[in-house]
């Protein structure tokens, strides 16, 4: 996104230029830029896929595509959005900002860092290649099981499933490398005097994320490996005939899949208090309480996974356990909400674009979280499960809680990264269009779900028509509003008003002590933190 060929006096001028710079870089800022750019592109790709889906759902009947293709689009949409848009965005911020925030010369393992990024494009290729292959008559398209790979549907599936399996393997290696790097950087690269309890919240958020990734990504890798051997090498992990169980796959998948939803949000929960504090001109509220809550969420995340498949039939004690433990997650999250709001409370607020996104984010993510709390109730979940109610819930958490958080972060740090200010006017327009059309897209889906519309269907009964129409039209507005975002970023990278070092009046933290943009090698002399 940005070109950080700083005019400052770099120690090393020996890095290659042009494309080779990006292919071979070991510089954390370059790698961060790569991650963020990749994320933005994949966000558009994943969004374009789902816009096709929404167009199909505009009215009953099959207009644009066959059901097979529909099923491929939704699954790949989800995998792209989560693994190739949201997670890389968080990693991109980690690369850019962690070293700056903790006063480190770079990430701890720069070469692995580069590899971590360069695993992503091959993974994206593997995921989407089957679409292209199908055009040439090879195979029958991409994975058509949704993003959850449920057996035995995925055992039955075609070559697309194999591609998705290996895509997940590459993504997994990338995430594990990224986590190793983050953990090592945080534990070993802090500036002298920066004790753990003085670290910026973003570092804490990422530390918990990395911990969750290390604990769960390998389990996902194991699960899809078993799927692969069930498909091609005659094992019976997920097959009753051999004493296996299709539900075993769901346990393994969601042991990863549930923590995954916090993996994508924890980094956001990390930097969001920093943004709130900046625009409230007031120290963040309850630092310790937030750190404890982040860890509590990380720990609880590992033990509640079965709430995603209450309807498969489980013994009553298991149902109760998973229900109550799931509800328990609302406690640390309520603490976080409390702290965020108390940070704003009695501040001296101003609403530049990042702050607009941040406040909107609290409210909308609040809706997502509260509906999650309702979903945890086993009996009512029989109704909600796999209905559009769930779809609405997780877009409030993933799009509002995740993507809008990321957008807030982008606007917050963009001037620091590029040295230019973006257009406030366009930023505000982007916010309002996004917030309004987002709600118009997904509020109708709550009602659709309650009325009984299952998810993952390409065609629906007549009573669902009106809400789907509203949702589709709003989704297109939402989609095209994102082009403003893209335009704003691109023009900011290319030029614009010079940004000051501090950029925002109330900004606190080491990254704001550096020039905007920071020199290619920052903190070659570590600062001392008192």
């Amino acid at each position: 996104m940005s070109s950080t060929t700083a005019a400052h006096h770099d120690e090393h001028h020996d890095h290659p230029t042009g494309i080779m710079r990006w292919l071979t870089t070991t510089n954390h800022k370059d790698i961060g830029t790569l991650y963020l750019t990749f994320s933005l592109i994949m966000f558009l790709v994943g969004g374009a896929m789902i816009l096709a889906v929404r167009a199909e759902l505009f009215q009953p009947g099959l207009q644009l595509m066959k059901p097979e293709f529909y099923n491929q689009l939704i699954g790949v949409h989800a995998l792209v959005m989560i693994f190739a848009a949201l997670m890389p965005a968080a990693t991109g911020f980690a690369n850019w900002m962690l070293p700056l925030q903790i006063g480190a010369p770079d990430m701890a393992l720069p070469r692995l860092n580069n590899w971590g990024f360069w695993l992503l494009p091959p993974a994206a290729i593997l995921l989407t290649l089957p679409f292209t292959l199908a055009l040439f008559g090879i195979g029958d398209g991409a994975i058509a099981t949704g993003w959850t790979f449920y057996t035995p549907l995925s055992i039955q599936g075609g070559i697309g499933v194999d591609f998705a399996i290996f895509s997940v393997h590459l993504l997994g290696i990338s995430s594990v490398l990224g986590s190793i790097n983050v953990i090592v950087t945080i534990l070993n690269m802090r500036a002298p005097g920066m004790t753990l309890m003085k670290m910026p919240m973003f570092a804490w958020g990422w530390l918990v994320t990395a911990f969750l990734l290390i604990a769960t990504i390998p389990v996902l890798a194991g699960a899809v490996t078993m799927l692969l051997t069930d498909r091609h090498f005659g094992t019976h992990f997920f097959d009753a005939a051999g004493g296996g169980d299709p539900i075993l796959f769901q346990h393994l998948f969601w042991f990863f899949g549930h923590p995954e939803v916090y993996i994508v949000l924890l980094p956001v929960w990390g930097f969001m208090p920093q943004i709130l504090q900046t625009f409230s001109r007031k120290p963040m509220y309850g630092y310790k309480a937030q750190v404890v809550s982040l860890w509590a969420i990380g720990a609880l995340a590992l033990v509640v996974w079965a709430h995603h498949f209450f309807t498969v039939g489980m013994p009553v004690p298991a149902l109760l356990y998973f229900m109550y433990s799931t509800m328990a997650i609302s406690l640390p999250l309520a603490v976080l909400f409390f702290c965020w709001i108390a940070t704003i409370w009695k501040g001296s607020l101003s609403f530049e674009t990042p702050m607009l996104f941040a406040t909107g984010w609290i409210v909308l993510f609040g809706i997502g979280g509260l509906t999650g709390l309702v979903l945890a109730d086993v009996a009512a979940d029989a109704q909600y499960h796999h209905s559009y109610f769930v779809v609405a819930h997780f877009h409030y958490t993933l799009f509002a809680g995740g993507m809008m958080g990321v957008m807030s972060g982008v606007y917050y740090w963009l001037p620091k990264m590029t040295g230019h200010m973006f257009s406030e006017r366009l930023g505000k327009l982007h916010f309002w269009l996004t917030a309004i059309s987002f709600n118009l897209t997904f509020i109708p889906q709550f009602f659709l779900g309650l009325a009984g519309m299952p998810r993952r269907i390409p065609d629906y009964a007549l009573q669902f028509t009106e809400f789907n129409m509203i949702s589709t039209v709003a989704a297109f507005v939402l989609g095209f509003s994102q082009l403003i975002f893209v335009y704003n970023i691109v023009s900011c990278v290319r030029g614009g008003k010079k940004a000051t070092d501090r950029v925002w009046e109330g900004a606190e933290g080491l990254e704001w002590t550096l020039p905007s943009p920071p020199p290619y090698h920052s903190f070659t002399e570590q600062p001392i933190v008192k």
Binding site: S280, D377, A382, E466, V473
Partner: protein, 389 residues
């Protein structure tokens, strides 16, 4: 193109708004409950929704107050606190926490507990048992005990392809209509066993409040007691492949007398069918009946003209298997031959042995050999199929 879409979209939204306002009965919530479980679920759901909405509104108002009043542009000076400083402040921060604890585990936790126990109690006082088997993409129902014991049928979507392809006006129950409804007596607790022959399905009728997965190789159970007579519609809600959106559930809840009458009917039909298996059919009869069976059961995958959907679904027109021998020289079933494939399936191809009766299998095979552009000329008698079971 774009303009056209915009126009259509604008029109759609307007229409949507108008009809939303016009249909007072439009469901903004769960459908009217027809079973105790659904009533309980609706109750719990309403209660929880009110609770979370109150939380939401309270928190939102605090935020809005702050956003309006604590603005820099209004000259508000930032306070400097970064946590509770006095004892009473600490106490105050614990209050919301305690409230949430109370809400989670008492206000919501206790009713939720009772619902779970009720939902999972499938056996106590059950009046009858039915078994539901999901397969791609139809439901099979079997009555396991009571007066209807032995009644067994398949329930297929009846919405014509033309309606789905927008070539014909869509009917009232578009996508929610089947040929054979499941019929249940009103007021009887029915224990429902579920399983599947291929992938995971989920049997769901929103008005019943119960949804349970049908898992291949395993038995799962739930229960229903329909208290209000009527016709109830639902859908499969676990992604099960390309026909997932086309796998509806339709249940008729009827009075005890009507139920008995229906059972009689079914028994007569079954008897006729098994008598049919013993008589000798003519080729025309077989082909005619076979076509019906084909359209209902096979056309989803192999398509109406037998052209299939390669690479996954092979064409039957000109297929080596569908035109090859059924029996070998010694009169034994050819492995991987036509009948073997239909009996036992392979991969995505379902096994039809337990689903279709002898007459159906014999006629659909005869049809495939002499219709769909094939002309093998021979035929298969139901008696031959029966002998091989």
């Amino acid at each position: 193109m774009v303009m056209q879409f915009l126009k259509k979209a604008g029109l759609g939204v307007m229409l949507a708004m108008i009809s939303l306002a016009a249909h007072a009965e439009y469901t903004w919530n769960f459908p009217m409950p027809a079973t105790p479980m659904a009533a309980d679920t609706l109750h719990v759901h309403n209660k929880f929704m009110v609770i979370v909405m109150i939380i939401f509104l309270v928190v939102l108002s605090i935020m809005i107050y702050s956003i309006v009043n604590h603005r820099k542009s209004k000259g508000h000076e930032a306070a400097t606190f970064s946590g509770p400083s006095t004892k009473s402040q600490v106490l105050w921060t614990l209050v919301p926490f305690a409230i949430l604890l109370y809400i989670d585990f008492i206000l919501m936790g206790i009713p939720a507990y009772h619902s779970v126990v009720m939902m999972e109690d499938t056996k106590t006082n059950a009046d009858m048992v039915i078994k539901i088997t999901g397969s791609q993409w139809r439901w099979q129902y079997e009555y396991m005990d009571g007066e209807a014991q032995g009644v067994k049928f398949v329930s297929n979507l009846t919405t014509p392809q033309d309606q789905i392809d927008n070539k014909a006006e869509k009917g009232k129950d578009y996508l929610l209509e089947v040929d054979n409804h499941l019929v249940l007596p009103v007021g009887k607790k029915v224990r429902v066993l579920l399983t599947s022959t291929d992938v995971i399905h989920n049997w769901w009728v929103p008005a019943f409040g119960s949804a349970r997965d049908a898992i291949p190789g395993f038995l799962r159970e739930t229960w229903v007691r329909v208290d209000v007579p009527g016709t109830y519609r639902g859908q499969c809600k676990e992604l099960c492949g390309k026909g997932h959106g086309f796998m509806p559930v339709v249940v008729d809840a009827v009075s005890a007398e009507d139920y008995s009458k229906w059972v009689e009917d079914q028994k007569t039909k079954l008897a006729a069918a098994s008598a049919g298996a013993d008589k000798t059919w003519t080729k025309e009869e077989l082909v005619e009946h076979g076509k019906e069976v084909y359209v209902k059961n096979c056309a989803v995958c192999h398509q109406a003209e037998g052209q299939g959907l390669p690479p996954t679904f092979p064409a039957l027109h000109g297929s080596k298997i569908a035109t090859g021998p059924i029996f070998d020289a010694e009169g034994k079933l050819v492995k991987d031959g036509h009948l073997d494939r239909v009996f036992n399936g392979k991969g995505v191809m379902p096994a039809w042995k337990a689903v279709l009766n002898d007459t159906d299998i014999a006629s659909v095979i005869t049809y495939e050999r002499n219709g769909l552009g094939n002309s093998v000329g021979d035929m298969l008698q139901p008696a031959q199929v029966k002998a091989l079971r």
